[in-house]
Amino acid sequence: MKVLTVSDTSKYIPDILGFISTLGEEVESIDLVTNVDVGKGFDKIYKVKYVSGELVLKLVRKFGDGYDLYIGPHTKKSLESLSYLAGGLDIPVISEVIGYSEGKLIRNILSGRGTVKYPYLKPMALTISPGRFSGARDVEGEVIEVDLEPEVKVVESLEKVRGGVDIEDAEIVIGVGRGFKEKDDLNMAFELANVLGGEVGCSRPIAADYGWLDEDRWIGISGKKIRGKLYIAIGISGAPQHIMAANDVKTIVAVNKDKNAPIFQYSDYGVVADLYQFIPVLIERLKSRIKV
């Protein structure tokens, strides 16, 4: 099997290599198209100025479309590029694959409330959901500089305003939602996170509408997906997009004053209470019980 990986980041390379070995097939070569340094694992590395679909398609056409599998992480640009490539080659594309079993690829649908299968075919294009596969490959390939100009011209690249947090890799996340009436009240959640050694995340309105927290704390399909051991959702009603992004967490706790809030259906432990009364008590009890 010959594989072409398309990635705009080095972060999920182990995920991709891990997924490929899960297929259990003899791998002849794994090439890569990227704009970053990724280190080991690939036979040929095509270094491009920008990861875009039309550029990858041009490359594939130039070097012959003899690949059996086109694959990348489920990042926005790899997804866009691989989907465009699939359209250009007229092959199927399946995004955000979470598993592989008996010749079938598995992905989530309906905001994580359902799954669907699709046969693993050759050739096809895939993006792989992060944090589910891991592997490495001891190959130090040659780097080929590609001098193609992308159709998409970057006028400006802006760092997202970020607090330097990585809730995706955090073991404990405290989520805040519209139950908080003012920005300053979020301090309670930060204190709780501090006591438990976690990070603070939030629902969509807190980041996108109110701008109280940076986008890198937004838990949702369009934001970050968390997969640690504990998530405490405070004052969050539980929109499907939010719940889907927290589904992989081991234990979920919900605190909400509305007993009928959907979040309780997706929680292991629920406390029906006014967060303004309950959270200070919880912090106080934790402080007195946690041995320093």
Binding site: D8, T9, G53, E54, T75, K76, L79, E80, S81, Y84, L85, A86, G87, G88, P92, V93, S95, E96, R107, I109, L110, R113, G114, T115, V116, K117, Y118, L121, E151, K153, V154, V155, E156, S157, L158, E159, R204, A208, S222, K229, L230, P240, N247, T251, V253, Q265, Y266, S267, D268, Y269, G270, V271, A273, V281, L282, E284, R285, R289, I290, K291
Partner: protein, 264 residues
Amino acid sequence: MDVGVLVKAALDVNVLRSDPTGRVAVENIPLVISEYDRNAIYEAVKIRDNTGGGKVYVYSVLTWGPMERKLKDFENVIREALALGGDEAYVVADRSINYSEPRYTARVLEYLIRSKGNPKLVLTGEASTDMTSATLSPYLAARLGYNIVSFAKKIEVGNGYLTVLRDADDRLERVRVSLPAIVSVTGEINSPRLPTLIQIRRAFRKPLEKYSLADIGLKPFLSRYEGYQVVTIKRKNIFIEEDSLEKAADKLIDYLVEEGVVKI
């Protein structure tokens, strides 16, 4: 300028229905307009009005069956798209594309775009709310030979080109692309208002043309998606009910220690 919008009648994720075997009972789940497609329509209307007029074409394919049971919801979604400011709608509903997949849906949309209005700018939501694959717009762009920019947070229209602020995960990029192009938009690009009663009434007088696959000369497709299963939620759903907040807090802490997620 003319702007096309791709609209999906998506399974309502808030009304999940399943049968006793755990299969998603797609036939019993209502269809609603895919959330971010509203943003796409709203943006298309804005662009049309800011560029001296033109038309907003709504394109859609019914991708869920059985057709007889979904047709009414599908038409309601298209009427909603027209009420939100679309001018004309061209749609395909056919028994043989019940349970479509993006690869096939793209073929139908490709035909509709080329033959019904042929707009040089096409917008859609960043992903559908039911399947969330986000693969359709780039796939279609490649077929049409259009440029693609996905996850747009802002669109400015120039003469024959666009400047788009796009989400690129860890950063934002302002990019410039020439038309023709497909742009997928995020939920943050604008805040669509609900259509007024007058807009809803007017929508019923706007052209809505519905075709079968035979009408547009395409062969039936067979989706390879299979095994739609409900995820069994393994959550414990334990409500902590104590007579004081202190007791409730202690009980919660006990549970979390038992789970091994908090150490005391």
